[in-house]
């Protein structure tokens, strides 16, 4: 059972009995869509291969047979058209959940997100809105090479008007996807694909472990939501704060375990708007901070976090904030583990920060 699930879920759990099930992240996301399509006839889902077949990662499996061709359908291979169609539908009051097959392929649709979806409310002064949810599997660790491994989240964190979310486990994935669908704002929802089938601690060689054995692999079958904008301290500690999201949350935890360092690990969950309060509380306590992202270093989201933390917690900081990131290169295929910021890089960073 998740232990720190926030007020929202807690309050739900007071008045209804939850049937818990073991779910991997794919099942949890599918369950979120299923719950929402069941309760709200305006929720529809589409994308490349996302209809009949249920998505190349099967996140939308069985939705077409359950809810019909017009509520879960295949889209032509044109990401701009998919985004534009979703905006038009949302403007009419539907709640489209559009899948981008790999986040690497979101770029042909970026203009519709940056110039349209994000600004429709603003430029029309609230007359029209586009509360689309864009789902996109991201990140490496599956030998996908440079076009199936990107973590482009920072691009979206620069776009006023969209919220950006990335869960790190099935329980959060479901609760946050439901929150995203219920949000009045557009949400770019990144799914770390390396975590779809099991937790991953960054040891490339190891056997795939299962969400079934992980506390956050227990997921209520019913509807629940987690608040967008709230981070979670997933490991308490006093020596250093590690701020991470997605796959690296698990890697950071494992690295702290492995090194036996009393690190506090924050799972950010929402990148925009990020939970500065939780971050500042922790850094003010530990006085040391590491920010992590899988994307290339320069101008990644870790830079935003570092910039803000040094401003917010300057006088508490006892060492420079370290960034643990991918390199400023495309994601290589054969040497993907030399690129991926694994536990050793976290340990090095912790040592550097602690020795400073």
């Amino acid at each position: 059972m998740p232990n720190r699930t926030g007020a929202c879920v807690a309050s739900v759990r007071i008045w209804e009995f939850k049937i818990m099930a073991k779910m991997n992240m794919i099942q949890a996301l599918n369950s979120a869509l299923d719950n929402m399509m069941e309760r709200d006839p305006d929720v529809i889902s589409f994308g490349e291969d996302a209809g009949y077949f249920g998505g190349v990662f099967r996140v939308t499996a069985n939705l077409q047979s359950k809810y019909g061709l017009d509520r879960s359908f295949d889209a032509p291979i044109n990401e701009a058209a998919i985004m534009g169609m979703a905006i038009g539908m949302a403007a009419k009051g539907l709640k489209p959940v559009a899948e981008i097959q790999f986040s690497d392929y979101i770029f042909p649709g970026l203009d519709q997100i940056v110039s349209e979806m994000s600004r429709l409310r603003y430029r029309s002064a609230g007359q029209f809105t586009a509360p689309v949810v864009v789902r996109a599997p991201c990140g490496g660790g599956i030998r996908g090479g440079q076009t199936h491994s990107m973590s482009p989240e920072a691009f979206f964190t620069q776009v006023p008007g969209v919220q950006v979310v990335m869960p790190s486990n099935p329980y959060d994935a479901k609760g946050l996807l439901i929150a995203a669908i219920e949000s009045p704002d557009p949400v770019i929802f990144f799914e770390p694909k390396r975590l779809y089938n099991g937790p991953f601690e960054g040891h490339s060689g190891g056997a795939l472990s299962s969400w079934g054995k992980h506390p956050k692999g227990e997921v209520p079958e019913e509807h629940y939501s987690l608040p967008i904008g709230k981070a979670e301290v997933v490991r308490e500690g006093s020596a250093v704060t590690i701020i991470a999201y997605g796959t690296l949350v698990l890697v950071a935890q494992a690295a702290a375990e492995k090194a036996g360092i009393d690190a506090e690990v924050i799972d950010l969950k929402t990148l925009v708007p990020y939970d500065l309060e939780t971050i500042a509380r922790s850094v003010n306590k530990t006085g040391r901070c590491i920010v992590a992202q899988e994307a290339p270093r320069t101008s990644g989201f870790a830079a935003e976090l570092a910039a803000q933390v040094q401003e917010e917690c300057f006088y508490a900081l006892e060492a420079p904030i370290q960034r643990v990131t991918g390199w400023d290169t495309p994601y290589p295929h054969a040497h993907e583990w030399a690129y991926f910021p694994g536990p050793d890089r976290f340990i090095n960073a912790m040592n550097a920060v602690l020795e400073a």
């Binding site: 032509p76 058209a81 905006i87 038009g88 539908m89 403007a91 609230g126 007359q127 029209f128 809105t129």
Partner: protein
């Protein structure tokens, strides 16, 4: 230094500044010739219409042929009024822009029929996704002119809170979508909206407008793929006014025979029509709207017209095309043609026309006075400064709240 012959083909217009305007290369078929198929015709059967030119008003300004929508004179007079108002409004706004009253303006001179007749042939509950050159729709749908002006001068009553460039209107109440400065983006949105209409089953449809130059964008293609795949009830209007900014239609068209014909590649019903002919625009739009509403899918309509004035107030066409082209444009002027048609019908005369122009002129001048009473861009009042932090999200997050504090508002 320049090669005399370019090493690859780069299309160029027939004439350039200094040359004599000349449209003799444009073939204009006689009015009344085009067949009007049933509205459930297969898209592929519209080939002749995609290559031809639907015209209703002939050189004597009489309505001829199958496409004559046989409108009541009251409707014609209403259309004339909206078109004259569009022109009067555009002219006045240009003057005011030159006087520094607004930052920017874009006229639709010569293209009034495209917007006005298009809007009149649809239902007011149908959503329109225009580009920045269909202000005629707003008049046809009865938007308050003072409101329009308040937007253009970005004052305290601007319904867009000063956030948008002038002419980038939004009017949800009138089912007029938010105009984007980014070309072609509205097209897949219109298709999505149209699909949502079917999903809702409310009998509404959508229409969108795009310029000749903008058809080159990927979103044009994406929208037609969607429209064809899902048979969406949408009308895609290509306003071929011969020019993008300084580039003529040949840069977007290449060797394509017509812009309408592009619709054929998607199996969509496709019509090329005389965009300066109120009756042709009305009839084609009516046809496409009926087709869409009956579930037979989308129509591409190329409006063959001419941008009679500059692209915008930032543009001076004398740098790239001969002066006076608009006067010899073979399809004439849409206002003049509808006026003469009505006169020919005995339903209008020069005096009434002069009176109409005078009335609308005065109304526009008076409206501007009223608009200015709500402020101007330079002297205010504007929307409150703090409003720049609103509507980014449904609720401002901590970043926006802090930033508002930083600005001290």
């Amino acid at each position: 230094m320049a090669h005399t012959e370019p090493r690859f083909h780069v299309p160029a217009p027939h004439v350039r500044p200094g040359d004599t305007p000349d449209f003799s290369h444009i073939a204009i078929p006689p009015a009344g010739e085009a067949k009007r198929p049933a509205t459930d015709v297969a898209g592929m059967e519209t080939r002749d219409l995609a290559l031809g030119l639907v015209r209703v008003l002939d050189h004597n300004h009489q309505a001829v042929g199958e496409w004559d929508p046989k409108l009541d004179p009251d409707v014609l007079r209403e259309g004339l009024r909206h078109m004259v108002l569009t022109r009067v409004y555009d002219d006045r706004m240009l003057k005011l822009q030159r006087q520094g009253k607004m930052s920017f303006y874009m006229k639709s001179t010569g293209e009034e029929a495209v917007a006005v007749a298009g809007a009149m042939a649809m239902q007011k509950s149908d959503m329109v996704f225009p580009s920045y050159r269909q202000q005629g729709i707003l008049f046809a749908r009865g938007r308050d002119i003072v409101d329009m002006m308040c937007h253009c001068i970005s004052n305290s009553r601007d319904n867009l809170k000063g956030r948008q460039l002038p002419v980038h209107y939004t009017w949800a109440e009138g089912n007029f979508f938010s105009i984007s400065g980014n070309l072609a983006t509205q097209l897949p949105q219109a298709v999505g909206y149209a699909m949502a209409c079917e999903y809702r089953g409310d009998g509404e449809i959508a229409a969108t407008w795009i310029g000749d130059g903008s058809t080159a964008e990927g979103d044009f293609h994406g929208a037609l793929v969607l429209a064809s795949t899902y048979r969406a009830p949408v009308i895609v209007n290509v306003v071929n006014n011969q020019w993008a900014i300084s580039t003529f239609q040949g840069i977007a068209a290449g060797d394509a025979p017509t812009f309408a014909y592009k619709g054929m590649g998607y199996g969509l019903a496709s019509l090329r029509i005389d965009g300066n002919d109120f009756l042709a625009v009305y009839a084609a739009t009516k046809w496409a709207a009926e087709r869409a509403r009956a579930g037979h899918g989308a129509t591409v309509i190329e409006h063959f017209t001419y941008r009679a004035d500059a692209h915008s107030t930032s543009d001076d066409p004398s740098g790239y095309r001969p002066k006076g082209e608009n006067e010899i444009w073979p399809l004439g002027d849409p206002v003049e043609r509808l006026k003469q048609h009505l006169i020919g019908l005995g339903e209008w005369d020069e005096e009434r026309h002069a009176a109409l122009e005078k009335e609308l002129n005065e109304m526009v001048i008076a409206s501007y006075k009223e608009a200015e009473s709500h402020g101007t861009l330079h002297d205010g009042p504007l929307s409150p400064v703090e409003s720049i932090f609103e509507d980014v999200y449904a609720e401002p997050d901590w970043r926006l709240r802090r930033q508002r504090q930083d600005l001290g508002v």
